[in-house]
Point group: C2
Chain length 353, copies 2
């Protein structure tokens, strides 16, 4: 009658409590709860009713232990408040759900953690990780051992899967367009590595000059493209935020009044640049063009609407999930065919450039 078995945290009942209450065995309760055959309809309903009354919910641990894990994947994101990431995350969650996976989310930027720390936090709970981890922060793959890691926008490290973006292609595309439009005094508004604002410092890339180490991967691609086209490009650093970009734009337009085009690290900073140009009394795109990078929906809502190097973020998410799927199933091997994908940006011309 009375069960002596202990309760789960939250005073939850175990399968034995239900079995005792119903006067049946564990197995019968299992059959009732999982809609398995081999049980009388009346018994099934009685057990289910009792389970509901006792607040019984099967332990995911016991279930997972015996049945083999439903795969659950970690998703490491540096900053959900940057509209770029939710669009990506949304796609990942949708496709993962389609596959019956669960997604354990970590937004590590606000807590001041690094990408590797995020993976460490996720590791005990997941079978794989997809993430934007940032560059050169130690070995995230090692933390996961044999479990697959798919990283995005990362050059270094030994992740099993890797999705990169062809910034050289994007930079050429952007510069060709701006030069054809007659722009000559170009500025690249950079966010700096690791998002660390290193102050509004100035660098110039011409010919094949080595570019400052602090310049981001994207910035370096633009520097290379500018060198190849033999035109000067001013790179200025700014915090990775709209407000920071706005201030940086104001100050660079004061220092160098002749500037007629600004390329921003991402769309969010481009939005700030738009404001900054307006602050200086100029109009976009007549006096100064502004070009973003990302292609987030925000760009269409701004005025003037943002011209940008766009990535289809749902496609990026799809690529990441499919790559992970391949790694989990063994269809793709860590170093092998398809373990590294390169995606290209598409230039979307709207009003700002």
């Amino acid at each position: 009658m009375t069960s002596t078995s202990r309760r789960l945290p939250g005073n939850r009942a175990t399968i034995l409590d239900v079995a005792a209450a119903a006067g049946v065995s564990r197995q019968t309760v299992t059959r009732a709860m999982n809609d398995m055959p081999g049980i009388r309809q009346e018994t099934r309903e009685r057990v289910q009713e009792l389970a509901r009354e006792l607040g019984y919910t099967p332990s995911r641990f016991a279930k997972g232990l015996v049945q083999g894990s439903r795969t659950s994947v970690g998703l490491s994101i540096p900053d959900l408040t940057n509209p770029y990431y939710p669009a990506f995350a949304s796609s990942v969650v949708e496709l993962a759900t389609q596959r019956g996976w669960h997604v354990v989310m970590d937004d590590y930027g606000h807590g001041g953690a690094t990408g590797v720390q995020s993976v460490e936090h996720l590791a005990p709970q997941v079978d794989a990780v997809i993430g934007y981890l940032g560059d050169a922060e130690g070995e995230a793959q090692a933390v996961l051992g044999r479990r697959p890691l798919v990283v995005l926008d990362q050059m270094t490290g030994s992740a099993w899967g890797r999705i990169r973006f062809d910034y050289d292609h994007a930079a050429r595309r952007a510069l060709d367009y701006l030069l054809a439009a007659g722009r000559r005094q170009l500025v690249y508004l950079d966010a700096g590595k690791n998002g660390l604002p290193s102050g509004p410092q100035l660098t110039t890339g011409r010919s094949a000059d080595p570019v400052d180490r602090a310049v981001s991967t994207r910035g370096q691609a633009f520097a290379r493209a500018a060198a190849a086209a033999e035109i000067p490009l001013t790179i200025i650093m700014s915090p990775e935020s709209a407000a920071g970009a706005r201030r940086a734009t104001q100050s660079v337009l004061t220092d160098r009044p002749g500037i007629d085009a600004i390329i921003a690290f991402n769309d969010l900073m481009a939005a700030g640049a738009l404001k900054g140009v307006a602050d200086s009394g100029r109009t976009v795109p007549m006096d100064c063009a502004v070009m973003g990078m990302d292609g987030i929906p925000l760009g269409e809502l701004l005025s003037p609407e943002l011209t940008t190097l766009s990535l289809d973020l749902r496609e990026v998410g799809r690529a990441a999930v499919e790559l992970l799927d391949g790694l989990l199933s063994g269809a793709i091997t860590p170093g092998g065919q398809g373990s590294e994908l390169v995606l290209c940006h598409r230039l979307i011309v709207r009003q700002s450039a």
Copy 2:
């Protein structure tokens, strides 16, 4: 020497494989992996090295079964691509992580699922759920049994925790402001219940008229406030998107040229309304004011910058997590003190109204 134990999915080794390889017992491997005392330093390092080589990672199921669950909470979100939700989710993830919780994320809108289906998907994997589930969709709390559910912006249902918003307060605040600014022909741009676009249908709320059932909770609050102030308010329906709001704004401005203020269901739709007003050749705010609701960062980037009824989304997240914390610890009981919170919007006056 050779272990006969099977491998986990992904060919992962078990603790017995490591023990056999190192020539020690399970318990010694446990001690080595968890930095427990009572083991020789040399042994510890040898075991750890071997574990690394074999790609051993402890089963979270076995560990959870014996140690009791690390709590993991589900987060149900209807649409991550609406900037409102990431800001909230970011806050929840950050605070949950601080508490050592894991967050299993579900973005159910894109898959065409409902809030309850989302909870059903999450249920086997989590100890509690926080979510925007939408109104009147059946019983999500029943799915979770004894596990706490905290819902936001939901009137019906028997969730243990509930966070509501005082839309009547917000509506009064907005109308007072607009009327004081001399606005007389007001439009409420509604998103309709469940986000279902029911076509640009027109309703008028005056005196204490019963308002169309299709009108959202927010819309009804504005209708009540308008009735109390004895001014007419036109409610029009639109799909819950910037593009939809833009079209709806264009058409309503054509139908009723005298309109001098538009209040939108949320900031995203307000951004669309901004565009729609411009399309019609009018300027904001001179010819027509536009007011949003949410207070997402996007508003500051628009031009004109968006006047809005703002919610501090990090506060909302904090409220949800703390409420859940109370429910998990037993400090708050389902029907009791503190199980229902009401938060107020703050009017942020910028340029658009």
